[in-house]
Symmetry: C2
C-alpha cells in the first residue's frame, strides 16, 4: 500500500504517511505541533483539526458538537489516515511560542550574574581548556604521545592526585592531532571530583571553553551559553518543550512513555530535539560549533530528567511513587545525542523524590535556603506546587497537586503568561466596570495565572463571589457583566468587540472553584510542612517564590485569596527561573555542584498522601482566604 | 556487474566475490586463512594457490618458477577475480592451528595456579558479584530504586569512600530488573581504584563472577576463563591470531594498518574476531553466556595492544618510534565488541615503549624481577627478543630485532614448534649419522627454533661448520649428507623417504647464518643492558626465559652457540607463557594490577639504535659462540 499525501493548511505543506497513522502524528511529522492535553486519549478536545478534503477514518469524536462535526472538525488523535487528505490546523489547536522565562532581571529578582554566590562557592568550572606546547619527541625522549601530553597537563593544571583520563576515541585521534598542530594544542577537559577527562584536542588557540545551563521545564526549555572562563551568560534561547504534543503535564507524558518502548524513545528524542534546536540557534548566532561546548548542567523535575535520559518514568506515577534514581549519573553528550563535544559530560541536578526534582534542589541552592539559622520557605508554583522549608540544620519538602489552573489549564479562557493574556484586573465595586492590564498591551484574548489570582481577589472584593467562590447573581442584578450561562455562572472581563474575537472573555464560577482548589492545595502543603517541624507561620523570615507564575504575581492579591501566608510584604522575594540559575552556578563552581548533591541528600521528603493531615488542611483552605480567618488578619476587612 | 562464484578445493566451498577482489581476500571470506608473510606485497611467495579452472587477472608472479606458473600456481595476493574460478589451496600455503602455548606446566615453569604470588598480592579481583535482597518500597520508605540498591551495596561490599557508579544502560533497566526479581538480585560490578561500576543486575543466584585473561601474541592468542571467586582457571583455549593473514610480524601489520582507515578497522576486527571465537568456544563448553563474563585483562606487545583497541600504530614503526600510549585506558567490552557483559571493563597491561610491551611488563611482574636485591635477567624470545634486567631498585629493558628465525621464519625448513617439527638433533661426529627427536613423534617435516639451536650447536660440535657458520665441505667429503646445492651448501637432516615428503629436510649455510644473526642480536642486547648499568654477567643471579621458544630450549645448546650467557644451568628458569599468567594475576589482584602499572612506569627503556654500542656488540657476537671466547669459558673445548 503506497503512502498517502497529507496536505496541511494554511502552510500548504505536504507530507507522506501510511494508512493508519493518526492525524496528530502526521502533523508532528510536518513539524506542526498540535496541543494534546490528554496525550492522545480523545478526552481533552484540544487537538481539533478541520478536514477540508478527503475521508479519514474517525475512531471517536469526543466532546465535539454535531455542528462542529458537520463542519469537518475532527480530533487529530482520534482520526486515522486511509487516503489523501487536506487538513487545516486552526491557531487555537497549535502549540505556540510564548514568553519563556529566561531569568530576566525583574523587581526583586536576584541578579543573574551577581558575584555573590559564585564568589562564595568559588569559580572552578566543571570543564577546562588549556593550551599546551610540547617539545617534539626524539630517539632519546621517546615517551608515548599520551604520556607526553598527560605529564604536561598534570603540571599546568596542578592536577595533584586527580587522575586524567583519555577516552579511546580521543586517544585514537591523538597522534594526528598532536602532529598536525605541530605539538601546540588546546586541550579541553571535563573536571569533576572523580577526575579529569580529555574531551577534545585541537590546534592551539585561546578561545574560552563554553558550557550550557539547561532548564527542562514540562512546558518550556531554556538554554544559556556560559563562558566558563568569565562566568558570563553569552547567549540564551528558550522555547516550548516539544514533548507537549504528548500531553500537557507530567502524568500524561508518563502514561504515554510507559505504553511502549518506542514511545519512551520518541518522547526522549523529542526533548533532545527541543534542546538541540536551541543549541543550534545559539551556536549559529555566536559562530561557534558543537566542539566549543564542553559541559552541560541540566535542572528539571524528576520526570523531565528521567525522560531526558530515556529512563522509564512509570513508577513515578504508581504508588508508592518511586523514581528510578535521585542522584543522576553524568552521561556523555554522545550517549544522548546532544549537540556538544561527543565526550563532554552532561550533568543533571539530583532529585529528592518523584515529585520534588532537580529544579527544586537548584532553587534551594540558589536561594541559600540551607544557610543561616533563619527559617525560609521556597515555593515553586507551576502545574505542581513544590515547597521547601528549612534552614542550615534541616530541610523538609513536599509537592502539592495544584493542577494546571495557574498556568491557564482547566480555565475557560485560561492561557499562559504571553502577549494577549490579562495579568491585572480592576473591578469598580459599584458599576462592576472593568479595567484590564494585558501582557504586550495587546487585545485581551485570555487570562494568565497572575491575572486569575488578581481577578478572584477582585471578584471577592466586589462581592461578586462569596468566600466559598459562589457567584452572587442577586447582588448585582443591574450589571450585564454578571450573568448565568447555559450551565454555569460567569463574569465578563472583556466584551467580544474589545477582545477582537467572536466571544466575550469571561471567568466562570467553575473557573473560580478551580483556582480555589489550586490555592488551597498549596496553602495546605505549607501548613503540613510547618506542622511537621512544629514551626509557626510567623517564624518564617523569608518566602522565596520561583517559577513563571511568581514573576508576575501580586503578593497582596495572593494573600487576599489565601494562596500565600499573610506575612509582611517585605518577607517575600521573587527569584524567577531558579532552575536555570542553579544550573549556571553548578556549571561554574565545583563546590556549588558538590553542595547541590549534598542538598539533594539532605532534604527530607514528606509524602502528603500518608495520613489525614493534608486532606484536613486542604478542606480547611477551600475558602477565600481560609476557613480559619485568624490565619489571615490582614484580610478580615474584606469579609 | 554480478559477483562471481569462487570455489575452493579441497573444501569445495563456494563464495561470491566481485571483480577485482584479490584471491587472498576471497579466501579469507571463505574462512580459508592463507599465509601472507609480506602483507600482500607479492614478495614472500607464501600465498601460493593453484588455479584449477577460470582465468583470473594476474598482476604479478613474484618468485614463482616458469614451471609453477605453467602448472597454474599463482600468488593469491597478486591475482584478481574477473570471472568464476576454481582454486586449490595447498596445505603449505595455509595457516594451521598448532601447539599454542597455554602455560602448561613444564619443567621449571612456575605453577599456574600456585598460591605464592596471589597470596602475596592478595586476592581482590577487578570485578565482583554480590547477591542482594532488598525490602520492597512503601509510601514511607520511598527512596529511589538506585538509592535503595546503592546503599545496600555500599554496606555489603564495604565500599568505604569508593563511589559506586551505574551506567545509564543499567539504570534504564533497573526498575524492571528489581521488580521482576522480586527485589532479590545478583549484582555484578567492576572494582578498580577509581570506583566500582555496576555492570549487570540479574535475578538472585549464587553463580560466581568470571573474568578472562587474554594473551594477544603476534602469532597466537590464548584465553583463560578465570573463576574470580576461587581464582581457578576453569577453561582455556588458544588459536592462531587471524591477523596473520595481514602479515607474519608486527611491522607488516603496522604497514597494512597504516595504509587506510578501513585497513586499521579490519585488522582490529580480525583480532577481536579471533578472541571472540575463543570466548564462544569456552562459553559453549562451560554452559555460560557473555553475561557471566565481567572483566578481562589483556597482555600483548605494544602493536598488538594498539591494534586490539583500534589505535593506529604507524608511529611505532617510524623513527623516533613513538607509541600512542603506554598506560592504556580501560574500555568497556561494548566499545570494542568483545563477547562479555557490554559494560564490563577490559584492561590492558601497560607498555614501556614501542617494542617493549604489556607482555613484557606481565613477565616482569610474574617473575618477581623487581623484588629483592639480587639482579635478574628476563628474556622473551619470539620474533623480537625483549630483555629486562634489574632488581628492586632499578629495571632497564630493551628490544632486539632477532628476526623470525627462532620461530622458523627465513629458514629453509623452518616451522613453528608443532607436530612434525624436529626439536632435537644428534649428529655422530665420525659418520655424520643423524638421530632426530620430532614433536608428536611424527615424521619430520621441518625444524623449529629449539631444534635449530640444537642443530647449529651439533653442526659446530661435529666440525661441519666453523665458528663463523661456514660449511666445511672438505672435512667430511665422505658423507652424502653434507653437500653443495645449486646456490648454497646444505646438510641433510632427514632423507625424503624418512620425511614422507618429496624433498630431503636440510639445513643450509644461509639458515645457519640467519640463526647466528638472531642469537647475536639477543646476546648483544644483554651485553648492552649490562654495560648501561655497569653490571658484570656473573652478577646475574637468575635468568628467566619466557615465550614459546623458551619452553623447548636446551640451555646447554643455547650457551654453546652463544645465545645465552655462559652461566651455571641452575641459574636458568623457564616460565612459559608469562603474558597469560600475568593477565590472570592482575585480574585476580588489585594490588598486582597497581604494581603492574607502577612497573610500567618504573622500567627504563634503552633505545639500542642510539649510539654505536649495540652495533659493536652485535658484530662481536656473530661468531659461535662469540668473538671473545673469555665470555664462554665452558665452550672453549668445542673450538
Amino acid at each position: 500500500m503506497p503512502p498517502y499525501q497529507i496536505k496541511f493548511k494554511p502552510e500548504n505543506c505536504i507530507i507522506e504517511a501510511d494508512a493508519g497513522t493518526s492525524l496528530l502524528k502526521a502533523a508532528a511529522q510536518a513539524e506542526i505541533h498540535i496541543k494534546s492535553g490528554c496525550g492522545g486519549k480523545g478526552t481533552c478536545g484540544a487537538c481539533k483539526v478541520v478536514v477540508k478534503s478527503g475521508d479519514p477514518l474517525v475512531l471517536g469524536t469526543g466532546n465535539l458538537t454535531a455542528e462542529q462535526i458537520s463542519a469537518g472538525v475532527r480530533l487529530a488523535c482520534q482520526t486515522r489516515i486511509r487516503g489523501d487528505l487536506t487538513l487545516e490546523v486552526p491557531p487555537e489547536s497549535r502549540l505556540q511560542d510564548h514568553q519563556v522565562l529566561m531569568g530576566d532581571v525583574q523587581k526583586g529578582i536576584l541578579p543573574e550574574s551577581g558575584p555573590d554566590l559564585l564568589e562564595r562557592f568559588g569559580h572552578h568550572s566543571l570543564a577546562a581548556k588549556q593550551r599546551i606546547s610540547l617539545p617534539a619527541p626524539t630517539l632519546t625522549t621517546n615517551t608515548s604521545d599520551w604520556d607526553r601530553l598527560n605529564l604536561e597537563l598534570r603540571w599546568v593544571l596542578k592536577a595533584g592526585e586527580k587522575p586524567i583520563h583519555i577516552p579511546l576515541a580521543i586517544l585514537k585521534n591523538l597522534p594526528e592531532a598532536l602532529r598536525q598542530a605541530n605539538w601546540d594544542v588546546s586541550v579541553t577537559l571535563t573536571d569533576t571530583d572523580s577526575g579529569m577527562t580529555v574531551t577534545y584536542v585541537e590546534p592551539g588557540n585561546d578561545r574560552p571553553p563554553y558550557g550550557l545551563a539547561i532548564d527542562i521545564g514540562t512546558t518550556t526549555v531554556v538554554v544559556y551559553l556560559i563562558n566558563l572562563r568569565t562566568g558570563e551568560i553569552e547567549d540564551q534561547q528558550g522555547s516550548y518543550n516539544k514533548q507537549a504534543k504528548f500531553g500537557d503535564d507530567v502524568i500524561s507524558r508518563i502514561v504515554y512513555a510507559a505504553e511502549e518502548t518506542k514511545h519512551l524513545e520518541g518522547i526522549q528524542h523529542t526533548v533532545i530535539e527541543t534542546i538541540n534546536a536551541l543549541i543550534d540557534t545559539i551556536l549559529g548566532r555566536q559562530s561557534l560549533t558543537s566542539c566549543n561546548i564542553s559541559c552541560a548542567m541540566v535542572a528539571g523535575n524528576t520526570t523531565m530528567t528521567q525522560l531526558f535520559l530515556g529512563v522509564d518514568p512509570r513508577y513515578i506515577r504508581l504508588e508508592p511513587y518511586i523514581p528510578t534514581m535521585t542522584g543522576v549519573p553524568s552521561v556523555t553528550a554522545q550517549e544522548i545525542g546532544l549537540h556538544m563535544l561527543p565526550e563532554a559530560l552532561v550533568h543533571c541536578y539530583p532529585a529528592v523524590a518523584s515529585y520534588v526534582g532537580g529544579d527544586i534542589v537548584a532553587g534551594t541552592l540558589i536561594t541559600d535556603l540551607a544557610k543561616g539559622e533563619e527559617i525560609s520557605l521556597f515555593i515553586d508554583i507551576g502545574t505542581n506546587g513544590e515547597i521547601v522549608l528549612g534552614n542550615q540544620d534541616w530541610l523538609v519538602t513536599c509537592a502539592c497537586s495544584a493542577g494546571p489552573s495557574f498556568e491557564g489549564g482547566g480555565i475557560t479562557f485560561g492561557m499562559r503568561a504571553m502577549p494577549g493574556a490579562i495579568e491585572r484586573v480592576i473591578i469598580e465595586p459599584e458599576t462592576l466596570d472593568v479595567s484590564l492590564k494585558v501582557i504586550g498591551n495587546s487585545l485581551p484574548v485570555g487570562i494568565c495565572g497572575s491575572g486569575l489570582v488578581d481577578c478572584v481577589a477582585k471578584l471577592l472584593g466586589a462581592g461578586i463571589i462569596d468566600r466559598a467562590g459562589n457567584f452572587q447573581l442577586g447582588h448585582h442584578s443591574g450589571s450585564e457583566r454578571l450573568r448565568a450561562a447555559s450551565d454555569d455562572k460567569e463574569f465578563v472581563l472583556a466584551w467580544a468587540e474589545q477582545a477582537g474575537g467572536e466571544k466575550d472573555v469571561v471567568i466562570t464560577e467553575n473557573d473560580v472553584k478551580n483556582i480555589i482548589r489550586a490555592k488551597g492545595s498549596i496553602y495546605a502543603g505549607i501548613r503540613c510542612l510547618l506542622k511537621m517541624v512544629a514551626v509557626d507561620m510567623e517564624m518564617i523570615s523569608r518566602i522565596v517564590i520561583a517559577g513563571g507564575f511568581g514573576n508576575y504575581l501580586n503578593v497582596h492579591d495572593a494573600v487576599q485569596i489565601g494562596l500565600l501566608p499573610d506575612l509582611e510584604p517585605e518577607r517575600f522575594e521573587f527569584i524567577g527561573n531558579a532552575a536555570i540559575k542553579g544550573a549556571r552556578l553548578a556549571l561554574l563552581s565545583q563546590n556549588a555542584w558538590r553542595e547541590a548533591a549534598e542538598l539533594g541528600r539532605k532534604m527530607t521528603y514528606v509524602e502528603l498522601s500518608v495520613g489525614a493531615t493534608y486532606m484536613d488542611e486542604y478542606v480547611a483552605a477551600l475558602f477565600l482566604p481560609h476557613t480559619d480567618l485568624s490565619l489571615f488578619p490582614s484580610c478580615q476587612n474584606s469579609d
